[in-house]
């Protein structure tokens, strides 16, 4: 009753709605989390049996024993290429195999040699090869320390919270049966007498000292409630395999800042969880989610990044089951003054963050990425799970979505609206109502009678469309897709072996088993133009509801005891959404014969989803808080590989004020995935519906996006090659600047653009931190120069989007904004050269066809642009690559320039010509008029 009351009160006070928290479990309500979290530190029963140690060149194995129950575990330790250590712990002899996550690692990681440095009865010291890095394995209790020199980088089981619930037989003895029957009868009676929704009663049930069976057991292990069956609200999880949770703690000495483990609507810097629930990773369709909360959302990436001024490291916990992450810190409670006091008194203990991971099933399989720089961690993680897919250029443009564009006529008039108001856009989207009765791969026969005609109309304007394809399949004997999946036995099964059925948009629906490669192959084949009727090459796909969302399932998702072949849904849950997107992206690739890059948006995701397309932050709301949190949410995803992230512009639920809508368009223009979306019950909000003044503001924001498309595109190319995030926190580029560690109201796009969007209602100004003692930053709108390492107050009006270009950078833009990105393909570039204090600058220029995989065949232009010693030059970075472009350089703008007497262009054929230029002395801006060389050519330009 109490929590309900509090929630009700909060609702009243804030005068707004919020998530119904009662629909989702707390740690206390999740039996394994409660069990594991109850363990006390410092009492580890695990001991390393050093005599069992075996070391081949690249692999060390060692048995661990739990002294309480004598169950043995097998520890495997690998040194992986690129400064990564992998630790696997499984039962030595499990009753049956435990789930190991497939299809997330892009390949079996390359191992490197390990060697024993020393060994005695207390432990073993291993060399990790590089930089005097060692691993110390302590025997009693088992503990693992990774050292560099005399510094401990990371310790495992240092708090003794390693726990591995071994698989066991259910004790079906006579006495067990009797007592358990009695117990369940008693439970039933209790249930009858207490209202079902009464959380008190549920809590009591869980808190009940377990059944009497315990006393009759031979082992001294406790049998707790929730080990073999668990009930939440009206749903019972049958748990035929019994308890199977795994957990391990990590200590990070010297670390006060940890990030990552998306998806949560929370701050960029993760908070300590001592006084509340742990961060939860369990892909869920959360209706109207709440901000600043560790509750699970639509996606999960079990990767945490730890950062200090000295080093950046990462932990990748490869487990797809429900997972909880506890974070505590010895400095968390301390004020700045307290820290100062410690420092002055010299009594300070080293700051340290302790982290603990708990998963419901599977094994412990961890990758410790040892950095040492942020970019090293990104490339280490990318070497394991792959990099961001390289999106078609058009998908970096603006997307117009709504639930729903009602019919072809509606699509046509919205499309025409963009032309009428001269606002560019690339994609228009169709939500679920476009289908014939929520049967995906079909079109409503009345509203979308001639989809090809519609798509052709868009193609004639060089625009594209996305239609939704969700993974729930309507149970309907007249629906081809359903019949095929059923007859092939491709559906997920319920615990009794029948096809799993749940309730979703179409009513009764079943869920294809995307964990099966044959199912995915079949699904992919459904995107062929002759299968998915009415489609053309400018139609792309959106996978929503792939957590999976099951309206009448426990926590609005699938029952954990549903089965995917040999595995329970429990084991694979967080992976389901990734598989859906994988099969869909494959379908789009295949339909083009492997030529065209796919574009697939997903709501659910997991480690590795970055390889498959874009992610959005789900069903947000038209509130300023949601606009604000879109920044840390996307930054968190970027840190763990997913760069192509965005939030619904304007907010999905509710209706934004005009000011909020405009500000969201402005902020979104500088986030990777730029899509407006709205709930079906909200009034229309196409950009031109708010008066000419606001239409102009939105037009300007979208146009700014389009001018920067060359920069976005080359950053995505970089992300695709290196794995570094496109949108990144400041500390990634300024890892020693403590002032940047918790910043989440501003960020960098690539290395060179700093964005501090206006996300407050009625704002008159923002204060942006410009990093870098020796840096200068140029306001991209006024060209005003500002020094680094300062907090700069910027007065703002409704048209302001504070953005700064770093001195020392060169950014290419296309200033001729047209009605879609494709229309701009052959347009010329303007190079923005921002000089630093040393009067140098550099940048890159990447060009390819924008939509095919031909870049893999080296069909691209990749150039290095450098300004030094008064010479600007373009040098080929990829001499073996071949591509030609019609684009040329129409203008060069040098910020922070001095006035030259002449500017001379020298082209590859040795010809020289003098160029005309303008010099604005008040702003020190030099504009070189129409140099005219091809964007793919070698050239130098001398400023004398």
């Amino acid at each position: 009753m109490a929590p309900l009351l509090v929630l009700g009160l909060a609702l009243c006070l804030s005068g707004t709605w919020a998530v119904d928290k009662g629909n989702f479990k707390t740690c206390e309500q999740s039996a394994f989390c409660k069990r594991q979290r109850a363990l006390k530190p410092g009492e580890s029963p695990y001991r390393a049996l050093l005599e069992t140690m075996e070391l081949t060149n690249t692999r060390l194995t060692l048995q661990l024993i739990n002294d309480n129950n004598k169950v043995r575990l097998l520890l495997e330790l690998y040194r992986l290429q690129g400064n990564i250590t992998r630790v696997k712990i499984n039962e030595l002899k499990p009753l049956k195999p435990r789930y190991e996550v497939p299809d997330v690692l892009i390949r079996e990681p390359t191992t490197e040699p390990l060697s024993v440095l020393s060994q005695d009865e207390n432990g073993v010291v291993l060399s990790l090869g590089v930089e005097s890095q060692r691993v110390i394995i302590s025997a009693r209790p088992f503990r693992l320390d990774i050292m560099e020199g005399s510094d401990v980088l990371m310790s495992l089981n240092s708090r003794g919270l390693l726990a591995f619930e071994h698989l066991r037989m259910r004790k079906d003895t006579f006495s067990y049966k009797v007592t358990s029957t009695v117990a369940s009868v008693w439970d039933n009676i209790k249930r009858v007498f207490s209202s079902q929704a009464d959380p008190e009663a549920e809590k009591k049930e869980e808190a009940d000292p377990a059944n009497q069976a315990e006393t009759t057991k031979e082992e001294e292990e406790k049998v707790e409630d929730g080990m073999w069956e668990e009930t939440f609200k009206s749903h019972t999880d049958s748990k035929p395999n019994g308890p199977s949770a795994v957990s391990l703690d990590f200590s990070l000495p010297g670390v006060e800042h940890v990030y990552g483990i998306p998806e949560h609507a929370d701050t960029l810097r993760l908070k300590t969880t001592d006084n509340g629930d742990p961060y939860r990773l369990y892909n869920l369709d959360v209706f109207q989610y709440e901000l600043y909360n560790p509750m699970a959302l639509y996606g999960s990436v079990p990767v945490m990044v730890a950062h200090s001024a000295q080093r950046t490291t990462g932990i990748f916990w490869l487990n797809a089951a429900e997972t909880w992450v506890d974070i505590s810190s010895n400095t968390a409670g301390k004020t700045v003054f307290g820290k100062m006091l410690d420092y002055v008194q010299g009594s300070s203990e080293t700051p340290q963050t302790d982290v603990r991971w708990i998963s419901e099933s599977g094994i412990i399989d961890i990758f410790i990425m040892l950095g040492p720089t942020p970019k090293d961690v990104f490339s280490q993680y990318a070497s394991l799970t792959g990099t961001q897919s390289f999106p078609p250029l058009a998908s970096l443009g603006y997307h117009q979505c709504r639930w729903n564009y009602n019919d072809q006529e509606d699509v046509k008039s919205v499309d025409a609206g963009f032309d009428e108001h001269d606002i560019p856009y690339d994609f228009i989207w169709l939500d679920i109502e476009h289908t014939d009765g929520k049967r995906y791969f079909t079109w409503d026969p009345h509203k979308f009678a001639t989809p090809k005609e519609m798509l052709q109309g868009l193609m004639d304007k060089k625009r594209k469309m996305v239609a939704i394809v969700d993974p729930h399949i309507k149970v309907d004997g007249n629906y081809k897709i359903h019949n095929e999946i059923r007859s092939r036995g491709f559906y997920v099964k319920n615990k009794d072996g029948g096809d799993y059925e749940g309730w979703c948009w179409p009513g009764s629906a079943s869920y294809p088993d995307f964990t099966r490669a044959d199912m995915r192959a079949w699904w992919a084949s459904m995107f062929a133009y002759d299968q998915y009727e009415g489609t053309m090459e400018n139609l792309y796909t959106w996978n929503d509801m792939n957590e999976p969302s099951v309206f009448n399932g426990p926590e609005v998702t699938m029952h954990k005891d549903a089965t995917h072949g040999a595995w329970e849904h429990r084991d694979i849950h967080n992976l389901y959404g990734l598989y859906v997107q994988m099969a869909t992206a494959e379908g789009l690739i295949q339909r083009s014969g492997g030529v065209e890059r796919p574009f697939v948006l997903t709501r659910a995701f997991f480690a590795g989803s970055q390889r498959l397309g874009a992610v959005w932050t789900g069903d947000n709301a038209a509130e300023w808080g949601h606009l604000k949190i879109s920044i840390p949410m996307c930054l968190s995803m970027g840190l763990v590989g997913i760069s192509f992230c965005g939030a619904d512009i304007g907010g999905f639920f509710k209706s934004p004020s005009t000011e909020l809508l405009v500000r969201w368009y402005q902020a979104g223009a500088y986030q990777p995935f730029y899509r407006a979306h709205a709930h079906v019950d909200t009034p229309r909000r196409e950009p031109w519906l708010f008066g000419p003044e606001n239409t102009a503001l939105i037009r300007e924001a979208v146009r700014q996006r389009y001018t920067l498309l060359p920069y976005w595109y080359q950053l995505f190319y970089r992300a695709h090659v290196t794995g570094e995030p496109v949108m990144r926190p400041l500390w990634v580029e300024y890892p020693q600047d403590l002032a940047t560690f918790a910043l989440e109201d501003e960020y960098l796009i690539g290395r060179d653009l700093l964005v501090h969007p206006v996300v407050e209602e009625g704002a008159r100004g923002v204060t942006a931190y410009l990093p870098g003692k020796d840096e200068v930053w140029f306001d991209v709108h006024t060209f005003q120069k500002h020094n680094g390492a300062q907090n700069l107050y910027i007065p703002v009006t409704m048209s302001s989007i504070p953005v700064f270009q770093r001195g020392g950078s060169i950014i290419p833009r296309k200033l001729r904004v047209r009605r879609s990105s494709t229309c701009m393909e052959h347009d010329p570039y303007t190079l923005y050269v921002a000089l630093n204090l040393q009067r140098t600058a550099d940048g890159e220029l990447y060009i390819d066809d924008g939509h095919t995989f031909n870049y893999e065949k080296k069909e691209f232009i990749y150039r290095k642009l450098t300004f030094a010693n008064k010479v600007l030059s373009s040098v080929n970075l990829a001499p073996d690559a071949k591509f030609t472009t019609d684009s040329w350089i129409e203008r060069i703008i040098v910020l922070g320039a001095s006035k030259p007497s002449k500017v001379t262009l020298k082209t590859a054929d040795g010809q020289e010509k003098q160029l005309e230029f303008d010099f604005d002395a008040s702003m020190s801006v030099l504009t070189v008029r129409k140099p005219g060389m091809n964007a793919g050519a070698d050239w130098t330009m001398t400023f004398q």
Binding site: D410, H446, P683, R684, C823, M824, R929
Partner: protein, 514 residues
């Protein structure tokens, strides 16, 4: 001939067969672009050599130096579109691979293969203009007829209203007579009622005063207790003596409630309450204030309108029931009044005599109501008061309904009344809005009707419908849609909106630019 062709091919940057001027410049601005002479940006900001006009680099802030290229972000390009209408397009559409000008002149260097469709478009436009003009013509004739009928109808109605007013006078006389009878009948009733009420109020006040005076709450009002109320001093000489107090109490030291009643007349006039809190006046006014708009509202509505619709047919909106219930609850003021009555329930029932009188009055009321002219009169008055357009041309729509059946629903537009939607295969009707107002743009206010305050939507506003009127011979609903949830759009043709066709002679633009 060959030479001519060659010349044509050579004249790059200049539209063929036309007066020589830079690409994208309209004839009207030709004089600003003089071949060979320096060009001054049209905003006067700077002057550039002529060879920088249309050289694919933006020199003028206003974009005027690049009318024929996409170089300036704010430029515009003029298509002559011989055979059709000349037009301007944003210069960003030049050579973007999409054919915008029907004469193909915007795509001179993009590789796009455009067909010159101007003649075809011109022909189609002329045809459709012709058709529209014919429709307009016929529609306009119909409209004249409608206006005529409306005026006659209006006169009829005014006459009728006059009649009614005449008979109203008769009736009023009758009513007056009856009223006399009624008042005569009511007089005793009112008096009895008043008597009864007064008596009740009097004793209530008496009790109150007694309790207030009885400071020590011993059930008696005594001389000392009375003395604290100097206003009761009989001779008002400033000294309220014990003797005087005793006199007020009828010569005794203290009185109980029964005795107090007998001396009440001595006290009641002068007594001043200790607490002045019991002033009901402000509450009374606030009640009236609330009452006002409610009754206003009621008079706005149709007599047969807004009967609560107990169920919403939209199956996604499970919570409609709650909402409807709430929405159709009796107005809050009415409820307050009910409650007030309850509170005052302490008042004893009327005595038999009063009750008889009241019953007699009700019988009389019924009789009066049976004349029924009230309603008729009000309807006529209401109809006359509608804005049926400048010449009452929309009057014929009044009390008519027009239906359109779609795949799912039957939509019904009853102009000046309401719009409804009913599922084709059973289910109850949903109100999509009641007549609100004419809502067209300022220059054609009668081109759009707005119907508002329909059945509410879950988590949303109440339904509303915008009806767009276009000229047509027939009066018919041609389409409906729901562009935004619960905001409906209806296309409606009728002759009443037709404008007088200017002149059937359609000017062809064919030669304008040559």
């Amino acid at each position: 001939w060959l030479l001519f062709l060659l010349l044509l091919l050579l004249s790059v940057g200049v539209s063929a067969v036309e007066v020589q001027r830079p690409r994208g410049v309209p004839l009207s601005k030709r004089q600003f672009y003089e071949e060979g002479k320096p060009f001054t940006c049209l905003d006067g900001s700077r002057t550039i050599p002529f060879d920088r006009v249309n050289d694919d680099y933006c020199d003028c802030q206003d974009g005027s130096d690049e009318p024929g290229t996409a170089a300036c972000p704010n430029g515009s390009f003029h298509c002559t579109n011989a055979g059709f209408r000349p037009t301007f397009i944003p210069s960003s559409r030049i050579n973007d691979g999409i054919c915008d000008c029907c004469d193909t002149t915007d795509e001179y260097n993009s590789g796009a293969t455009c067909q010159n469709t101007c003649r075809e478009l011109g022909r189609k436009e002329r045809e459709s203009l012709q058709k529209m003009a014919e429709i307009a013509k016929e529609g306009f004739l119909l409209k004249q007829q409608l206006i005529h009928e409306a005026n006659r109808g209006l006169e009829d109605k005014k006459a009728k209203l006059g009649d009614v007013q005449g008979s109203k006078k008769d009736l009023e006389a009758k009513v007056e007579a009856l009223r006399t009878v009624k008042e005569a009948a009511e007089q005793p009733e009112r008096e009895a009622k008043e008597r009864h009420l007064k008596a009740w109020e009097e004793s209530a006040r008496m009790a109150e005063v007694f309790l207030e005076l009885d400071d020590d709450a011993d059930g008696f009002v005594s001389v000392p207790e009375l003395l604290s109320h100097s206003e009761l001093d009989p001779d008002a000489d400033g000294s309220f003596t014990e003797a005087e107090a005793q006199g007020l109490l009828g010569g005794v030291d203290k009185v109980d409630t029964a005795a107090f009643e007998s001396i009440w007349s001595n006290v009641k006039e002068k007594y001043m309450s200790e607490s002045n809190a019991d002033t009901p006046a402000p509450e009374e006014t606030s009640r009236e204030e609330i009452n006002e708009p409610v009754s206003d509202n009621e008079s706005d509505q149709y007599p047969d309108d807004d009967i609560p619709e107990d169920e919403d047919d939209d199956d996604e909106e499970d919570e409609d029931d709650d909402r409807d219930e709430h929405e159709y609850k009796i107005p809050p003021t009415a409820r307050t009044e009910e409650k007030k009555d309850d509170d005052e329930g302490a008042m004893p029932p009327y005595d038999q005599e009063t009750q008889n009188l009241i019953d007699g009055k009700n019988a009389f009321k019924t009789e009066l109501f049976n004349f029924g002219f009230g309603i008729c009169f009000r309807n006529l008055e209401k109809e006359i008061s509608f804005d049926f357009g400048p010449s009452s041309e929309f009057a014929y729509l009044y009390s008519q309904c027009y239906e359109l059946t779609t795949s799912e629903y039957i939509y019904r537009l009853c102009p000046f009344n309401r719009v409804t939607q009913k599922p084709k295969f059973g289910g109850s009707e949903t109100n999509l809005g009641s007549w609100g107002k004419w809502a067209g743009p300022e220059d054609s206010i009668y081109s759009v009707m707005k119907y508002e305050h329909g059945t509410g939507c879950w988590q949303g506003p109440s339904r509303s419908t915008t009806v767009k009127l276009t000229c047509g011979k027939e009066t018919v609903v041609t389409s409906t849609s729901e562009p935004s949830r619960c905001e409906y759009l209806m296309e409606f043709t009728c002759p009443a909106i037709c404008q007088e066709p200017p002149n059937l002679e359609i000017s062809s633009h064919e030669h304008q630019e040559l």
